[in-house]
């Protein structure tokens, strides 16, 4: 099996699915190339996450990441929740296949955007839409590109993986 038991368990029984109609913060992240999309809704009381819900369009790991993320964030105060990283989510899921790590980026990014949205509202800043489109690459800026054949780190736009001698398409 490609995924850990914990990933499969969260995928099959996702926690905190849904929408919060009067949410205090909303974060939406989408990746048009891979096709994952995630929306996080927050209900915040006294700077504490009282309720968190998600909706996700994506693969098994994207759904499991969303579910685990809501469990990690639930009940935390905003400052603590800001510290939740992609690695925390992946670790709580007992790891993700390397080429699925970008799904965990999606989760933490959506949470941080929802918190930003909450703080913006509190500060009276209005943004057109609490949303960010990801770039063409399947990983967040600054994270390493991985060879799709052997998971070795490769340079952006590399056309050859030195680790496994595979030819690569320019976008990977």
């Amino acid at each position: 099996m490609l995924y850990s038991k914990t990933v499969m368990e969260h995928f099959k029984n996702p926690r905190n699915v849904g929408v919060i109609d009067d949410a205090d913060g909303v974060g939406e992240v989408g990746n048009p190339l891979c096709g994952d999309m995630m929306t996080i809704y927050l209900k915040i009381d006294n700077d504490k996450i009282d309720d968190i819900k998600f909706q996700t369009f994506g693969c098994g790991s994207a759904i499991a990441v969303s579910s685990m993320l809501t469990e990690l964030a639930m009940g935390k105060n905003v400052e603590e929740a800001k510290k939740i990283t992609n690695k925390d989510v992946a670790a709580a899921l007992e790891g993700l296949p390397k080429n699925k790590l970008h799904c965990s980026n999606l989760g933490a990014d959506a949470l941080h955007m929802a918190i930003q949205d909450y703080e913006d509202k509190k500060a009276g800043i209005t943004r057109p839409e609490p949303r960010r489109e990801e770039g063409k690459h399947g990983h967040s800026q600054g994270e390493a590109c991985l060879c799709p054949y052997c998971d070795a780190k490769i340079k952006e736009h590399a056309t050859f993986c030195k680790a496994c001698q595979s030819e690569l398409d320019e976008e990977h």
């Binding site: 499969m8 995928f11 099959k12 996702p14 699915v17 929408v19 939406e28 048009p32 190339l33 891979c34 096709g35 994952d36 999309m37 995630m38 929306t39 998600f54 909706q55 996700t56 369009f57 994506g58 693969c59 098994g60 790991s61 994207a62 759904i63 080429n99 699925k100 970008h102 399947g138 799709p148 054949y149 398409d169 976008e171 990977h172």
Partner: protein
């Protein structure tokens, strides 16, 4: 729970007759078909029998037009690179389509790195290429036209017969990748008019690791594997005799049962397509099933992602494939689905359902029931679905 395989395009079981023949062959300890001793001659004889069986399956006039390879991909590489090398003095231009299998695409890409030029002709929204467009793409430099017989993702069958009229008139070699057609639908190389045809044994319940290339006598082609004189100098290296024996038996069975298999598979395909709207809504059927492969249904289910569906179906005991980018190593949307005009999100929700001869109507209705629940639960958590509902 027993598993229902609706993913025969990925893997099929070996028929009992094939298994028996291969096990017997292993026990028999055949010699090397190229050896001039008794054991070798005996081996050469069974190799020829298998060659006859495969020739019969595709109506090759001569058994020497059948070259055994290690799989469909090798056959395709041999066909494309072998023609390019042998005809380098005539020209360096190749015509193909934009929905070919990666073995074709990458063989041609390799040649283009070595100086060949390529015209990739677009297909229509059903995935069918217009022979007129092939004719227009041909130049004085063209040495090869390579068009797949059927597509492994959407099942579309191409008008090879019409294309061969064009290539014959212009005296250009025509190759067809027929890996998903040979043994599944009737294939007659005389009627199709191809010079080269690639196929493999596993799509018709033979072993993996065995394929073949039909090479019409007189076709200008060089080997890509050099060495001994096996396969009439067309493919060096000792043959995979056990596998080839299995392929031969599978070919005989496919020839014998072709009619009943096609009608059984067509029945399951019709049932699946007819019943689908009673179980789910908002989906597309890709390709042109009525005129396509009888054993394939490609369906794009809106607002949800394919890998999730496949994982949940697996849990319910049904195996299918997806063309979702997330399920592939490269995280890239399928070039076939993009070529027929699907957008990224819809391509993401694409399942490829390929029943086999052992499947029953009950398998199909069981699958549909399982799919119904899965589509509902995945849509319930999909932001795309909920947005669509909110905005109408």
């Amino acid at each position: 729970m027993s598993n229902v395989n609706l993913d025969h395009i990925s893997a099929s079981h070996l028929l009992p007759e094939v298994q028996d023949a291969m096990i017997e062959a292993i026990k028999h300890n055949y010699g090397n078909p190229s050896s001039q001793n008794m054991a070798g001659e005996e081996a050469a004889e069974v190799l020829d029998q298998a060659r006859e069986s495969v020739a019969g399956l595709i109506n090759a006039k001569k058994t020497k037009e059948i070259v055994f390879t290690s799989n469909g991909t090798e056959s395709v590489n041999q066909a494309i690179k072998g023609v390019a090398r042998a005809n380098v003095d005539k020209g360096k231009h190749i015509v193909t389509t934009n929905i070919e299998h990666s073995s074709v695409n990458r063989s041609i890409k390799r040649l283009s790195q070595m100086g060949c030029t390529v015209t990739s002709v677009s297909v229509d929204e059903k995935g069918v290429v217009n022979p007129d467009d092939i004719a227009k793409a041909i130049t004085d430099e063209t040495i090869l036209v390579s068009v797949m017989h059927s597509n492994n993702e959407i099942g579309t069958i191409q008008p090879i017969e019409e294309i061969s009229k064009i290539t014959k008139e212009k005296k250009i070699i025509l190759h067809s990748d027929a890996v998903d057609s040979v043994g599944v639908v009737p294939i007659d190389v005389q009627k199709l008019g191809v010079d080269l045809l690639s196929y493999a044994s596993n799509p018709y319940y033979g072993p993996t690791g065995v394929g073949g290339l039909y090479i019409r006598l007189g076709t200008s082609i060089w080997p890509i594997i050099d060495g001994g004189i096996q396969e009439r100098n067309k493919r060096a290296g000792t043959e995979n005799l056990i596998g080839i024996i299995g392929m031969g038996v599978a070919a005989d069975l496919a020839t014998k049962h072709m009619g009943e298999r096609v009608s059984h598979l067509r029945g399951l395909q019709d049932l699946l397509i007819k019943e689908l709207p009673n179980y789910i809504d908002e989906y597309y059927i890709n390709g042109d099933p009525d005129n396509g492969l009888p054993n394939l249904v490609s369906v794009s289910i809106k607002y949800i992602e394919g890998e999730s569906i496949v994982l949940m179906l697996e849990d319910d005991g049904y195996t299918v494939s997806t063309r979702s980018a997330c399920a592939t190593g490269s995280l890239r949307a399928s070039h076939v689905l993009m070529s027929i005009g699907l957008d990224h999100a819809d391509a993401q929700g694409t399942l490829v359902i390929t029943p086999g001869i052992e499947n029953t109507k009950e398998d199909i209705t069981g699958f549909l029931k399982s799919l119904q629940g899965i589509v509902k639960s995945l849509r319930d958590i999909s932001p795309l679905y909920n947005k669509m509902k909110a905005t109408g």
